[in-house]
């Protein structure tokens, strides 16, 4: 019964943590723009949470930088199970233009496992919503 309830609430209202791992900010503002009146993801029950301990889904933007790597792993470990990671933007997928820079490891998937990739540089807010919905369908 309880598992059913949690499963239902997870599907109906995923809580999201937004984490910038070295992005150029464009992807971040687009993720935030998805929260504001034009796109308004809150009507789907998607809430932005401030700490990893409350979150179900981590939205990562940007390539993983060397300095951020350990923090990224720590934040991933702090998130309660089951957890999902969405890589937003070309950077988070592969490194985008920063591929080959000395402080960039590459995509997020070099550090933590990723469930959904959203392409685009920057992604559009509608693409973010679409990606989250795809993830929910996967559950």
């Amino acid at each position: 019964m309880l598992t059913k309830l949690t499963r239902w609430s997870r599907l109906k209202s995923p809580w999201i943590l937004h984490l910038n791992t070295g992005a150029c900010n464009a992807c971040d503002i687009e993720v935030v723009a998805a929260l504001t009146p034009r796109f308004d993801v809150e009507r789907f029950g998607i809430l932005l949470k401030a700490t990893p301990r409350h979150a179900d889904v981590i939205i990562c933007t940007g390539p993983a930088t060397r300095q951020m790597k350990d923090r990224l792993i720590r934040i991933y470990e702090q998130t309660p199970e089951p957890k999902f990671v969405i890589a937003v933007g070309a950077c988070a997928m592969s490194g985008c233009v920063y591929r080959g820079a000395y402080n960039v490891i590459g995509g997020i998937d070099q550090v933590i496992p990723v469930d959904v990739y959203i392409p685009g540089c920057p992604v559009r807010p509608d693409a973010v919503i679409d990606g989250v919905v795809k993830l929910l369908n996967k559950l």
Binding site: H18, L19, N20, T21, G22, A23, C24, N25, A26, C27, D28, I29, E30, V32, A33, T36, P37, R38, A50, T51, P52, G62, P63, T65, Q67, M68, R71, I75, C96, V97, Y98, G100, A101, Y102, N103, V104, C121, P122, R124
Partner: protein
């Protein structure tokens, strides 16, 4: 008793990764250290391995909010190196996009400031209005954030009649909505009281610490690269430099609201006087060995690129200094002797763009080195003085 509080890199109050280490006594901040490096990617090194054209797209991705400012600054420099003169129409369109970007960036900042001050409906209002600007930019360039409109020798996309009309129409809506922000002070006294007196930065400090942009102008220094060192077509366009003299977060908000209206006027002027003709000239692949300093007034302040060429199709050195970095030293000054609860507000007030600042800097530890150790009783006096100041500021007037 002193405590150290680490804030970040992932923290609810900060949208981007940055580490702040704050030493407090009671509620009062004694010292602050900024720890960067979480967002450092090494763009300056990378730029040396890419060609002139490729670097346009790399500099665009230094920062997402002021992407046009970095490309324009870079492209202007390269045009000087290659001795090109871009056509008038191209320059007009370039300036137009720059001003649109300023509008969207300032709206974004106002929203963030409202959010940090606990005024969330204001955040939603400004971000709703920002979508209008994003739509215009999408119409012009085909993308919402990275416009990719600059190229060496001009711009890549032209404007047609319909677009001009569309922009002018949208501008009317924006003007009307912005009236609300202008009258904000009279309708929302609690918001004004929250901002007034927070993050004080005197005129002398602002100059000594080399602050730039609205942070500097809010301390009463009328410095604006668009006026001082006109680039593109700013020498033909009438506009005013906006300043405020309250030296606090309120002043920074006022400067930005005033600049919004200036930008609307500039955009209107540009569209009404758009010259006909070509939009770009063809650029050579190589640049002769030379060097150039290119300056640009980004929404956050002065942006400077130093470019050195060596005769090949790649730059020898590309040095980028983004406005946020210049403002860090001032931020530390503002944080000191403030209250913990003001940290997000003060920090947001410089409109930090961490990815800009970190294209090459690693750890920046901003300490002016002038601070003395203050004994406890003097500290108390200082804090009382501060709170006494606060009382007076509570009756702050909305200057618009």
């Amino acid at each position: 008793m002193r405590f150290q509080i680490p804030i970040g890199p992932q923290h609810p109050a900060l949208k981007e990764p940055i580490g702040l280490r704050i030493t407090v006594e009671g509620e009062i901040i004694r010292d602050a250290d900024i720890r960067l490096g979480y967002n450092h990617r090494g763009i300056e090194k990378l730029a040396e391995q890419k060609t002139w054209i490729q670097n346009i797209y790399l500099t665009e991705r230094i920062c997402g909010i002021c992407s046009h400012s970095h490309t324009t600054c870079y492209v202007q420099g390269v045009e000087k190196l290659m001795e090109l003169q871009p056509p008038k129409r191209g320059l007009y369109i370039r300036t137009l996009v720059a001003e649109l970007e300023r509008v969207h960036s300032h709206l974004l900042w106002l929203g963030v400031a409202g959010h940090e001050a606990g005024f969330d409906s204001f955040f939603m209002y400004t971000w709703r209005d920002r979508e209008i600007v994003m739509d215009i930019l999408e119409r012009i360039s085909g993308n919402r954030v990275h416009y990719g409109i600059n190229t060496i020798g001009g711009v890549r996309r032209d404007l047609d009649e319909l677009q001009v009309k569309y922009i002018l129409d949208s501008l009317e809506i924006l003007r009307k909505r912005s009236e609300y922000y202008k009258n904000l002070g009279t309708t929302e006294p609690s918001f004004v009281a929250r901002l007034a007196g927070v993050g004080y930065l005197s005129k002398e400090d602002a100059i000594a610490l080399c602050a730039v942009g609205p942070t500097l102008r809010a301390s009463g220094v009328p410095m604006d690269v668009r006026k001082d060192d006109p680039y593109a077509v700013y020498d033909e366009v009438p506009f005013e430099v906006c300043t405020a003299d309250t030296c606090d977060v309120l002043g920074r908000a006022v400067v930005r609201i005033k600049e919004l209206f200036q930008s609307y006027n500039i955009i209107e002027y540009l569209l009404k006087n758009l010259p006909a003709g070509e939009i770009a000239v063809k650029a050579p692949r190589r640049a002769k060995p030379n060097e150039v300093v290119s300056r640009y007034e980004a929404p956050r302040g002065e942006n400077i690129h130093y470019i050195k060429s060596n005769g090949t199709d790649k730059p020898e050195r590309l040095k980028v200094r983004a406005p946020t970095l210049a403002n860090y030293a001032a931020t530390i000054k503002m944080l000191k002797n403030g209250f913990i609860a003001d940290v997000p507000l003060i920090f947001a007030a410089i409109d930090p763009c961490i990815c800009c600042a970190e294209r090459a800097v690693a750890i920046v530890d901003a300490r002016t080195g002038q601070e003395k150790v203050v004994p406890m009783n003097i500290l108390k006096q200082i804090s009382q003085k501060i709170s006494a100041n606060k009382e007076r500021k509570r009756e702050a007037e909305w200057p618009l």
